[in-house]
């Protein structure tokens, strides 16, 4: 059986996968839209009061203010008509206006998207740097010291909530050592600690995945054959091993993206990072439904997009599986 050589990836497979992703994106939009619509109707309490409190601050909010808001936003129309309107607007990508700040949701999201993208990409990069590397090294000697240490550390990191991990990192790097800022976004290196918090959680999983894959590769026939052929360990690894290890790691990236997207929400709140996750939490507090819809939509679409990228990468790495065939 030949190893995976540099054959052309299955373009047809990629096209199918991308079409699937497109369909997924549309379905996500519809699902988010419907849920958010029902939220406006079914939230306990009065929407108008919530919005007024979010706008004027709780010391100033009164019934008169809430009445003004209710009139302004037309919150008492029959629900069927409103749902139709909702669909229409969503499909035209009209995300409406934030009920708290009265700015268009698109504008707010544009402002917040870039910090979140920066954070996510850096976190992904760091986790890929740390996780698979340690995993491969651990897999080379299963049962050895590095293997056991990475297992222990990975379990600890998976069991720790992200806010605790963030707290520990801040205590070590900001308070004790004073080399990184604890929060905010415009000091030198503000991005490092939030990215590291996310990356460590993800690296914990990709490390084990890489390790298991490495163990499997090492035990496989073609690897043994490569060694018998006379290649050194390093050459065998580079030429035959890594690509096969990379395949499940890249495939598992798709699953880790869920962790990333959810982690972004918590980490941005802890570190006061002005991104989409931060906006989502505040929108939920303020019951600002257009913002909830907008941010949830963006997060969902971002996830779909990253998955599509992962599929393409999968296809390049492993043409056997074809694209879009996650574990």
């Amino acid at each position: 059986m030949t190893t995976i050589s540099s054959r052309a990836p299955a373009w047809r497979g990629i096209a199918t996968a991308l079409a699937q992703r497109l369909l997924q994106a549309v379905l996500v939009a519809l699902l988010v839209g419907t849920l958010c619509f029902f939220m406006t109707r079914m939230l306990p309490g009065d929407m108008a009061y919530r919005i007024a409190a979010g706008r004027y601050g709780y010391d100033m909010v009164t019934s008169a203010a809430a009445e003004a808001v209710r009139l302004e936003l037309g919150l008492d129309r029959p629900w069927l008509a409103a749902l139709g309107d909702w669909w229409q607007r969503l499909l035209q990508l009209d995300l409406g206006v934030s009920q708290v700040t009265a700015e268009p949701v698109m504008v707010e999201i544009e402002r917040q998207l870039w910090p979140t993208l920066r954070l996510s990409v850096l976190a992904m990069f760091l986790s890929l740097l740390v996780g698979p590397l340690l995993g491969v090294l651990a897999g080379l000697k299963p049962g050895g010291l590095l293997d056991r240490v990475t297992l222990a550390v990975s379990v600890v990191l998976r069991a720790l909530p992200s806010f605790l991990l963030g707290l520990v990192l801040v205590l070590v790097f900001s308070v004790k050592l004073g080399i990184l800022p604890a929060a905010g976004h415009d000091d030198h290196g503000s991005i490092v600690l939030p990215a590291l918090t996310l990356a460590l959680g993800m690296a914990a999983v990709s490390c084990r995945v890489a390790r298991d894959a490495m163990v499997q590769v090492r035990g496989s026939a073609y690897f043994a054959f490569a060694l018998t052929k006379g290649l050194s360990m390093r050459q065998a690894l580079l030429r035959h091993g890594l690509r096969n290890v990379a395949a499940p790691v890249i495939a598992y990236l798709g699953v880790q993206l869920v962790y990333l997207v959810e982690g972004v929400v918590l980490v941005e709140t802890i570190f006061a990072w002005p991104g989409i996750g931060h906006a989502l939490v505040h929108a939920i507090f303020g019951r600002d439904v257009p913002m909830i819809q907008g941010t949830a939509l963006v997060l969902g679409l971002m996830f779909v997009l990253f998955n599509a990228l992962v599929d393409t990468a999968c296809a390049f790495i492993d043409p056997r599986r074809g694209a879009g065939h996650a574990a």
Binding site: V156, A159, L164, V261, E262, I284, G300, A326
Partner: protein
Amino acid sequence: MTTAYSPSSDLVLDEAPRRLGRAQRAGIALLVVIALFALFGPWLVGIDPARQQLERFLEAPSLAHPLGFDQLGRSMLARLAHGARLSLSLAAISVLSAAIPGTLLGLLAAWRGGWLERVLAAFADAVLALPGLLLVLLLTAFTPGGFWPLYVGISLALWVEYFRVVRAASRILLASPHVEAARLLGFGPVHIVRRHLLPELLPRLFTLMRFGFAGAVLAMSALGFVGVGLQPPTPELGVMMIELLPYYGEAPWLIGAPVLLLFLTLLGLLLLAPEREAA
């Protein structure tokens, strides 16, 4: 954990292990201890977890009260025991109520194929693209502080993984010669599922359940973080982690207790897995 013998015809699926290694035994022991603590701890400790004595707030651990008192003067050990029971049962129910429908739907999709499978797959993909946290938030926003939205929300967010894994694996298995032969012999679907599919699926499902379990408890703490967690004075591990976070400086044992409990539970689950499991 014994399994019925069933040969696999594909390199992707490994054989189930036959004997329990040392790690597995340690894992089982750990889980049994935690389960006993969760089941009988509240009764053994005997202190009301809601009873507060404000003058004893943040009291250090002593012989009579091994974990001291929390910020409202409530016995931490009692709260931990009740919290363990609540959280672990909540997580278990969520995971099971995600796994069972997910598995059934996956089997259904793989068995029937055709448009039903495609529709289910598309729906699963759409749900998976929603951040699970958001789904639960939306549902809990309808009835804040209730248990049912949490169960339903977490299950809804989790079932997709089971669906996909089961569907992918079942498709391969159903195409195998053994199943074909069984079909030709006239065995019904229930029998085929029981004898041929489940033994292969259970190890993978179990892997998912492990991480799903920890994920469910951490999801509770995330919800508490955002402000839609369970209402006071309900003791629950995730919410306790949030509540006790500000006291990490002056009473680190308070937040250490639920974190350690969760860590041990996850460790136990992790140790249960066979050594050469593929990702």
